[in-house]
């Protein structure tokens, strides 16, 4: 706020409109996809498939959608024995990951199965009718337990010394010097690295949004991160980071995250392999829904590509969200439900009392909606205040047909929400409190003094954008 008002360099809510970074990533990714296409043509060098190699490959394979409980239990056992082998053999096991994507696929599938198993178990408990499966779930209460999943992820991170390696890289030192016996091996390094992103996801699924953000302390999002080479990992990271920011009321930071990845996806669309691209289409839609929520709560200028796509996909909903008031509430709920992660509860459900098992999505949504309801009059307040430079509070209350005391609360709420933590260049959780509104006001008794920041034309920005379009 102070900077905003002292005529110093004003803080723009999205100060990094430059797409240089995305462009570099795109070029890098393109090069890599082409390189791998070349590899595919070569004969596989080794044809012998021993047992462990096929287990490694199996761990990265999705479980059949219709798999029964038995298959889910045995899949869990397979993961346990594989991770046990990798983590607890005498010294590091001498294996090369079958492919560049393998480590990500394993962690991704491991967490996906944990997530869907927990959701399934909770649903069976809520319905309370399938006696046979309830019995099986009771007997196998430790299967897919939260502690064991966390244990695997933390152990992989520790074994690989990946945090130490990443920190060495930040200081421009050789990561191998601190990697230890395990971390120098590709298998451990990759598993450790993607386990960090796996943890981000698990914390978010459990509703621990600040711990989720803290998990990424060692990874520098804005540099060419390792995960950027695996599209699905890149995508997943930004979705969960963006979502966690939204849940900690840092809407500007959330928008920055979603915008970055959506711009990136739209530019790499043409040379994506179709299978990989299909899997992210749904998340893509979800992130547009989340951007709609965030931009309604925190009006800001979006990248042109995002803006156009958002209007196409969620144009009507966005208008209602931006108007605020009680009519916007069902739309916030609808978009949140469609776009949130499939939240889970980490403990065994209460099979004896089906009615006690509440869907965690309802729980997190209800808390989120508390804040939405508190701030739902902000758009109304702003739209009226924009019309005046001074205004009598009682008169305005008359226009709005509310009690003056009610309007005083609305004014205070709107003013308080105009300050938001914004990421600077440190870890994701750190930020500085900045003013994010172009409208400011102060009260003298019942007299409201209003000032609106005038935005000058951004000629240079316009010129550069069009120039790059002409040459591209």
């Amino acid at each position: 706020m102070a900077t905003f008002q002292n005529g110093m360099a004003p803080i723009r809510t999205m100060d990094n409109d430059s797409d240089v970074e995305e462009e570099a990533l795109v070029a890098d990714y393109k090069e890599q996809v082409q390189y791998e296409d070349g590899l595919d043509d070569q004969e596989p060098a080794m044809s012998q498939q021993d047992d462990i190699q096929s287990r490694l490959a199996a761990a990265a394979q999705p479980l059949d959608f219709s798999a029964g409980l038995e298959a889910k239990f045995s899949s869990y056992d397979n993961y346990c024995s594989l991770f046990h082998h990798i983590l607890n053999s005498e010294g590091p096991v001498d294996l090369e990951p079958p492919s560049y994507y393998w480590a990500w696929d394993v962690i991704d599938e491991f967490i996906y199965q944990f997530n869907s198993f927990s959701s399934y178990r909770a649903r069976i408990a809520r319905q309370g009718t399938n006696e046979e499966e309830i019995q099986m779930l009771r007997e196998n209460s430790n299967t897919w337990g939260c502690y064991s999943v966390l244990n695997v992820l933390y152990s992989l991170i520790q074994r690989s010394q990946i945090s130490e390696q990443l920190n060495a890289m930040k200081r421009n030192e050789d990561p191998m010097a601190v990697a230890g016996n395990y971390g120098t091996k590709n298998l451990y390094r990759m598993l450790g690295y993607f386990s960090i992103i796996g943890l981000l996801r698990v914390h978010c699924l459990l509703g621990d949004f600040s711990l989720a953000l803290k998990t990424l302390d060692d990874i520098e999002l804005n540099k060419k991160a390792m995960f950027a080479r695996v599209m699905a990992a890149h995508f997943t990271t930004y979705y969960y980071v963006g979502f966690s920011y939204m849940m900690t009321r840092r809407y500007g930071d959330a928008i920055r995250m979603f915008s970055h990845i959506l711009v990136y996806v739209s530019r790499t669309k043409n040379f994506q392999k179709s299978a990989q691209y299909d899997s992210i289409t749904k998340k893509n839609e979800q992130m547009y829904a989340l951007i709609a929520i965030c931009v309604a709560l925190h009006p800001t200028r979006l990248d042109d590509t995002i803006h156009t796509a958002l209007r196409e996909k969620y144009g009507d909903q966005l208008l209602k969200l931006q108007k605020g008031g009680p009519d916007s509430l069902p739309i916030f709920e609808e978009l949140f439900r469609a776009a949130c992660p499939k939240f889970i509860s980490p403990v065994l459900p209460d099979f004896d009392h089906p009615e006690n098992n509440i869907d965690p999505v309802d729980h997190h949504l209800a808390i989120f909606m508390d804040e939405i309801k508190t701030t739902m009059w902000n758009p109304t307040v702003k739209s009226y205040l924009r019309l005046y430079t001074t205004m009598d509070l009682k008169k305005l209350a008359g226009f709005l047909t509310v009690e003056p005391e009610e309007l005083r609360a609305w004014l205070l709420v709107n003013k308080q929400r105009s300050k938001q933590l914004r990421w600077t260049d440190q870890s994701l959780l750190v930020g500085e409190l900045v003013n994010v509104s172009d409208l400011d006001y102060a009260l003298q008794g019942d007299l409201i003094h209003i000032s609106e920041a005038k935005v000058g034309r951004k000629l240079v920005d316009w010129y550069l954008r069009n120039l790059s379009r002409t040459y591209a």
């Binding site: 008002q5 098992n357 309802d362 920041a453 935005v455 000629l459 790059s468």
Partner: protein, 238 residues
């Protein structure tokens, strides 16, 4: 985040720091240490929401460890940080069955009551907050462990008022601060806040927040923005 909103206070001892930053945060035995630290926060009037969430996380993973009183104390402590996401972040870590209105337990009742209070503070309905607090004896029970609860809320409200107001009616202020009469309100304004009172109006000194000065956002131009254009033109002529 910084100490100002109770996220990472300077009072946090090294022992707690090592628990919440390491794997010890998953050890059920750490709950005892974190509970003792919570009591210390309640007595010594500071707030460490980050450490308290580590305790809630342990409860989330080990429901048999849950102490109802610790949960409600954490909620009351995080409430004092309004307006902030702290209360909500704590709620997210509770089990859905504890926060559901359908659940009939002392804990879920208490949580529901505290949620109402918090919503009033977040929604700047300060007069209503004090009325709610008076309306039921359960609130006195829930806040009894938190030393100086009412004073902390009162000071925070005053701070927030000073960010929006240059002058405020004594009667409005009296309701918002939950004080019983005009004299107490004037006394609080003058002695605690350092404001001036004249003719039923409380005058709040100018600060960066309550001025509402006109500004113009101008374009910020630097040479880096032209880097790509220059690079391209160089490449084309070369």
């Amino acid at each position: 985040m910084n100490g100002a909103n109770g996220e990472d206070p300077s009072e946090r001892p090294a022992e707690i720091r090592s628990i919440i930053n390491g794997l010890e945060r998953y050890n059920p035995e750490a709950a005892g240490v974190l509970e003792a630290y919570l009591s210390q926060q309640c007595e010594e009037k500071f707030c460490d929401c980050n450490a308290n969430r580590a305790l809630l996380k342990l409860y989330q993973l080990n429901p048999d460890r849950i102490k109802d009183e610790a949960i409600t104390n954490i909620l009351v402590k995080s409430m004092t940080q309004f307006p902030s996401p702290q209360f909500d972040l704590a709620l997210h870590l509770l089990s859905p069955s504890q926060t559901s209105p359908a659940a009939k337990s002392d804990l879920s009742d208490a949580i529901a009551k505290l949620r109402v209070l918090n919503l009033q503070l977040e929604g700047a309905q300060y007069a209503r907050f004090w009325a709610t607090l008076e309306s039921d004896d359960i609130y006195a029970d829930l806040t009894t462990d938190i030393a100086g609860f009412e004073d902390m809320i009162r000071v925070r409200i005053a701070q927030l008022i000073s960010q929006s107001y240059r002058e405020v009616d004594v009667s409005v202020l009296e309701n918002w601060l939950g004080l019983d009469d005009e004299d107490d309100t004037k006394k609080f304004a003058v002695e605690t806040c350092g404001w001036k009172v004249a003719d039923g109006l409380v005058q709040i000194p100018k600060n960066a927040e309550n001025e509402a000065k006109k500004t113009e956002i101008r374009e910020d131009v630097n040479i880096d923005m032209f880097a790509r254009v220059i690079k391209r033109s160089w490449e084309e002529t070369a």
